[in-house]
């Protein structure tokens, strides 16, 4: 026993997962990049990162079988976190890839950020809290996070929206429902604030693992 919660970061061959792994390690986890079902099943918490575009991410998840693994973890009640495109694929679909279904954990669509703004939003922005949620525990306002994205989930009825940011209007920045946390921004690139968010997830994973 290391005493550090085991966090499985799903490695499906997309982009740079190195920063995510190192970020979770700094945040106190035994963080492993993996596609191994045994390890995923044993993990206290599971993270789905993602960069690039929706369709290639969904295709890679399908190829590696990690789409099913994701849905099983979500259903199991174990702490789960999606980051950036790893958040977007949890939704039903995306404007970016009409006809490519997402995982449907959240039953609404991902849309292009509207309005006369530069896309991608590539900047730090303030998280406007909509829910009191452990994801943002211990952080004093204003909470600054780093965003790189051209699309964002619809707000829906807002019941699961943890935070929005203002980019030509409110843009969904984080959602959560039960054991599922998801961030449109990059906590692993958001300096001390981001590491605290990762640590909050590691704490939730540790508590779930101990229970």
């Amino acid at each position: 026993m290391t005493g550090r919660p085991l966090v499985a970061i799903l490695d499906y061959g997309i982009g740079n997962l190195h920063s995510a792994q190192k970020g979770f390690e700094h945040a106190g986890a035994d963080a492993r990049l993996t596609a191994d079902r045994g390890l995923i099943d044993a993990a206290d918490g599971v993270v789905l990162p993602g960069v690039g575009a929706f369709a290639p991410c969904m295709a890679a998840l399908g190829r590696t079988g990690l789409d099913d693994a994701t849905c099983e973890v979500v259903a199991s009640g174990r702490p789960f976190m999606g980051i950036c495109v790893g958040m977007q694929v949890l939704f039903a679909g995306s404007d970016e890839a009409p006809g490519t279904p997402g995982l449907g954990v959240f039953d609404r669509e991902v849309r292009w950020i509207p309005g006369p703004v530069k896309r991608p939003q590539m900047q730090w922005n303030v998280l406007d809290r909509r829910l009191d949620h452990p994801m943002l525990a211990g952080l004093d306002d204003p909470v600054w996070a780093y965003f790189v994205h051209s699309l964002a989930p619809e707000t829906g009825d807002g019941a699961d929206v943890v935070a929005t940011c203002d980019y030509g209007g409110p843009v969904v920045a984080a959602v959560a429902r039960d054991n599922v946390w998801a961030a449109q921004f990059h906590p692993e690139k958001s300096s001390r604030v981001g590491l605290r968010i990762l640590a909050n997830f590691v704490a939730a994973a540790g508590a779930a693992g101990a229970g």
């Binding site: 982009g15 740079n16 690039g52 991608p120 692993e188 690139k189 958001s190």
Partner: protein
């Protein structure tokens, strides 16, 4: 809300930061990891490492540096310089760089921009453009390559708009007329490019004072401002830069 970014640029040769960075208490002024961490704690929004390594034998050193920085520093960083192929870019991105910037190789073979953005997403692909004023160019500015030494005959505006079409996620725009002069950004060039493209533009070249950073955003309409010497030589801190920008009404992430 549009939030301007302040980006220190570090020159790297064979994995070591050169042209000295003059922080108080620095243990090793050539260590990219220590400097990156220092700039992170000062409140830098991103970092750019410009690889000036002449020999391609040292490419492995740059990849190792990207990994070492990504291990310890949790703000975004870009590596540029000498990236000739998709594989060069792939190695740096896989090592932990958030973005790579391409310049000469992209001018020579624009398809490189499409290849990188297709594999990693356009947010990973910065196109660095070195421009110099030229009465023969329709926009008044011509693209130069090889660190500003080689004329291309290509119009700057034409190149940035085609780079965006090819998948560039950001333009790093350097005025070769101003680079190293400390006279301030070429604001005419900067605003022209910022208005012509729908992706973010980083202004570069010529910063000598904090007010130059302000002008880059207010008059140049840049999304981010890049500077080297004013930060490295201890003339100003990132915090001072951001304070001045905030006083001028620009939204920044406080240091």
């Amino acid at each position: 809300m549009r939030v301007a970014r302040v980006i220190p640029c570090l020159d790297v040769d064979a994995g070591r930061v050169v042209k000295g960075v003059n922080f108080v208490d620095i243990r090793d002024a050539g260590d990219p990891v220590e400097l990156a961490a220092r700039y992170d704690s000062q409140g830098a929004d991103e970092l750019v490492f410009l690889d000036i390594t002449a020999s391609s034998d040292h490419r492995d050193t740059t990849v190792a540096m990207a990994r070492a920085v990504a291990d310890e520093v949790f703000i975004p960083f870009t590596i540029g310089g000498g990236i000739r192929t998709l594989d060069d870019g792939r190695r740096l991105l896989r090592a932990g760089a958030d973005k790579v910037s391409v310049n000469t190789a992209a001018v020579r073979r624009p398809e490189l921009v499409r290849e990188i953005s297709r594999e990693f997403g356009s947010q990973c692909c910065v196109v660095a453009v070195d421009a110099r004023s030229s009465p023969e160019a329709p926009s008044g500015y011509e693209v130069f390559t090889h660190g500003g030494r080689t004329r291309t005959g290509i119009d700057c505006l034409e190149w940035v708009t085609s780079a965006e079409r090819l998948g560039a996620g950001e333009i790093l725009l350097t005025s070769m007329d101003r680079d190293g002069t400390k006279e301030g950004f070429e604001l005419n060039l900067t605003s022209m490019v910022s208005e012509a493209v729908g992706v973010p533009v980083i202004a570069s070249g010529g910063v000598g004072t904090l007010d130059h950073l302000v002008e880059g955003v207010t008059e140049g309409k840049a999304d981010a401002v890049l500077a080297a010497s004013i930060f490295h030589y201890g003339e100003h801190t990132i915090a001072e830069a951001k304070t001045r920008m905030a006083e001028a009404g620009i939204t920044v992430r406080p240091a």
